[in-house]
């Protein structure tokens, strides 16, 4: 078996999700080649070459691969696909955008967001917003797979010294172009890789009140998240959303503040190792899955928590 793993990155550093997908690749077994496609992304290829279990790195460094336009990237992946039994990518928005396009061009199906590897062709994946877990066997010659990063530990960043081979072809479909991006800037850790996350829900009342979470997050080095209700109410932007239609996270500690615990939110955080819920409604469903529940007014509990940490 031979696996092609598509790296997710920002042309400077490897996105942590790639290392989680690398663990899934190791569990499938076989030679692992990482494809780093971007513009001015040689440093990413060097990082990928060191990651545990990587035997080859392909570097496609060309302006047409900047900003990961699916039309161009898919053509590149298909061009490089010969000989690989599996093509994997982390199931971030880049992988979700790209991989079905790759699969269709190869005339094979895709297994989306796997959470466990049963064998080289059989995988577990959540369906119905995580309310059921399906075991699915791929019948295709080439298995195209996206990997839910939070379900796998990150592979070690050191341990290999793979050779980086440059790809010089430029696949440009010419049908799409990057215009602009608005990336949320934050000094806090990324939601996807944070050890601790503190999230606010509708109970926060206003966007300004999210500042109460900041003081606790500062003490814990935590990332800040939000429920869909808080995002829909306009308190915070959508990139903070934790849940089935937002980010799926599994930190060591998840603190849910003013979040009732809708199924959609639970689907995004119930794999967290320790869950704390702070809510004034003692009947809130979030308490049914929390390891530690505190029935309290968040406007008193949060400042007190910040002070006592």
């Amino acid at each position: 078996m031979s696996i092609l793993l598509i790296a997710e990155h920002d042309n400077q550093t490897l996105n942590p999700g790639t290392l989680n997908a690398l663990t899934a690749a190791q569990q499938i077994g076989g030679d692992i080649t990482v494809l780093v496609a971007g513009s001015g992304c040689a440093a990413v290829a060097d990082d990928a070459a060191k990651a545990a279990g990587v035997s080859n790195v392909l570097l496609a460094d060309n302006p047409v691969y900047d900003k990961a336009l699916a039309e161009n990237l898919a053509a590149l992946v298909v061009e490089q696909a010969a000989g690989f039994s599996h093509i994997l990518a982390p199931a971030g928005t880049t992988g979700k955008d790209l991989m079905p396009r790759v699969a269709a061009l190869l005339d094979v199906g895709q297994i989306s967001e796997i959470t466990a590897v049963e064998s080289a062709d059989t995988f577990k994946r959540p369906i119905y917003a995580g309310n059921a877990i399906a075991t699915v066997q791929s019948l295709d010659e080439v298995k195209v797979i996206t990997v839910r990063a939070s379900a796998f530990d990150a592979a070690a960043t050191e341990g290999s010294s793979a050779i980086v081979n440059a790809i010089t072809t430029a696949c440009d479909a010419g049908t799409s172009a990057f215009v602009s991006e608005e990336m949320a800037k934050s000094d806090r850790p990324d939601l996807a890789s944070a050890r601790v996350i503190i999230s606010g829900g509708r109970g926060m009342g206003t966007g300004e009140n999210f500042a109460l979470l900041d003081s606790v997050a500062d003490k814990l080095g935590a990332a800040i998240g939000a429920s869909r209700a808080a995002v829909d109410a306009g308190f915070v932007s959508n990139d903070l959303q934790v849940g089935q239609t937002g980010k799926i996270v599994a930190p060591e500690l998840y603190i849910a503040v003013g979040i009732s615990g809708a199924i959609q939110h639970l689907a995004g955080m119930k794999e967290s190792k320790v869950i704390v819920a702070i809510n004034k409604d003692e009947e809130a469903p979030i308490f049914q899955i929390a390891d530690y529940g505190l029935v309290a007014d968040l406007f008193q509990a949060l400042p007190e928590l910040a002070e006592k940490l």
């Binding site: 336009l69 699916a70 039309e71 898919a74 971030g92 928005t93 880049t94 979700k96 955008d97 079905p100 396009r101 699969a103 269709a104 061009l105 094979v108 199906g109 989306s112 369906i127 119905y128 309310n131 059921a132 877990i133 399906a134 075991t135 699915v136 066997q137 791929s138 019948l139 295709d140 479909a173 010419g174 049908t175 799409s176 172009a177 990057f178 215009v179 991006e181 608005e182 990336m183 949320a184 990324d190 932007s237 959508n238 990139d239 239609t245 060591e252 500690l253 320790v274 869950i275 704390v276 899955i289 929390a290 390891d291 530690y292 529940g293 505190l294 509990a301 007190e304 928590l305 006592k308």
Partner: protein, 249 residues
């Protein structure tokens, strides 16, 4: 410009999903079904394009047994002009759906094809991207804003760390995210009128598509449930538990 929307009949999002006792699948017998929420957003976006004078006609397609006509009628009541059902006994896998839709795209030549980003049953998030691949068209996935400007569409996409805007040469494929719009409700007179709007039924054979199996569903299980922990009575007790029992801070 013609706009094609593809919709899926799925379990109503308010219904609690139960796994069958024999673990072969989830139990959908006598369960309320509805238009997939992301597909509803796709229909709404198409109708808004028509209301804005950008779309000339909205065609809605769905794949599945006769029951999917119910969802097609819903889309017609919301404002789509005509519907196409592609009759299949059960719901085919995404690549098969994309192949069937590619034939519809070929016949209808829509300037824009809009789909939901994923269905809330199998959560695959594949069909739109696959359709784009098969038709060789550019894709704007997880859209939170779509602006048609002449021969191009500017699509703002919801990505992991914020928003990304791309410019697509039409014809193009767009998949919807939650914040693209808020779908309207169908009015009673429109529901009545929808019954008389044209609905054409085709088969995969009519479209010369052979359905192929790409995966096998071996088992469906209920996820391990998490046990409720304890309630603490103060912030002090919480900090103590996190430090000394859970040892996470």
């Amino acid at each position: 410009m013609k706009v094609l929307v593809s919709v899926k009949r799925v379990i109503d999002y308010n219904v609690k999903v139960r796994v069958k006792a024999d673990n072969t699948d989830v139990d959908l017998a006598n369960v309320k079904m509805a238009l997939n929420p992301f597909c509803e957003i796709a229909v709404e976006e198409a109708i808004r394009l028509k209301e804005a004078g950008i779309a000339s006609e909205v065609v809605v397609a769905s794949i599945g047994p006769k029951a999917v006509q119910e969802q097609l009628r819903t889309a017609l009541a919301l404002g789509a002009d005509r519907a196409i059902q592609i009759e299949c006994d059960d719901l085919p896998e995404p690549l098969n759906v994309a192949k069937l839709l590619a034939r519809v795209v070929e016949a209808e030549q829509p300037g824009l094809t809009i789909l939901g980003k994923q269905s809330i049953d199998v959560d695959n998030n594949q069909t739109g991207q696959m359709l784009a691949a098969l038709t060789g068209r550019p894709q704007g996935t997880f859209a939170s804003e779509v602006k048609v400007e002449g021969e191009k569409a500017m699509v703002t996409r919801e990505v992991d760390c914020g928003l990304k805007t791309v410019e697509l040469v039409l014809p193009a494929i767009v998949t919807t995210d939650l914040r693209l719009n808020e779908p309207r409700y169908a009015k009673l007179p429109d529901i009545m009128k929808a019954k008389r709007k044209p609905l054409e039924v085709k088969t995969p054979a009519d479209l010369s598509v052979e359905l192929k199996q790409h995966s096998r569903l071996l088992k469906v299980e209920t996820p391990a449930s998490r046990q409720a922990g304890i309630k603490v009575d103060s912030v002090d007790a919480l900090v103590d538990k996190l430090k000394n029992e859970a040892k996470v801070i």
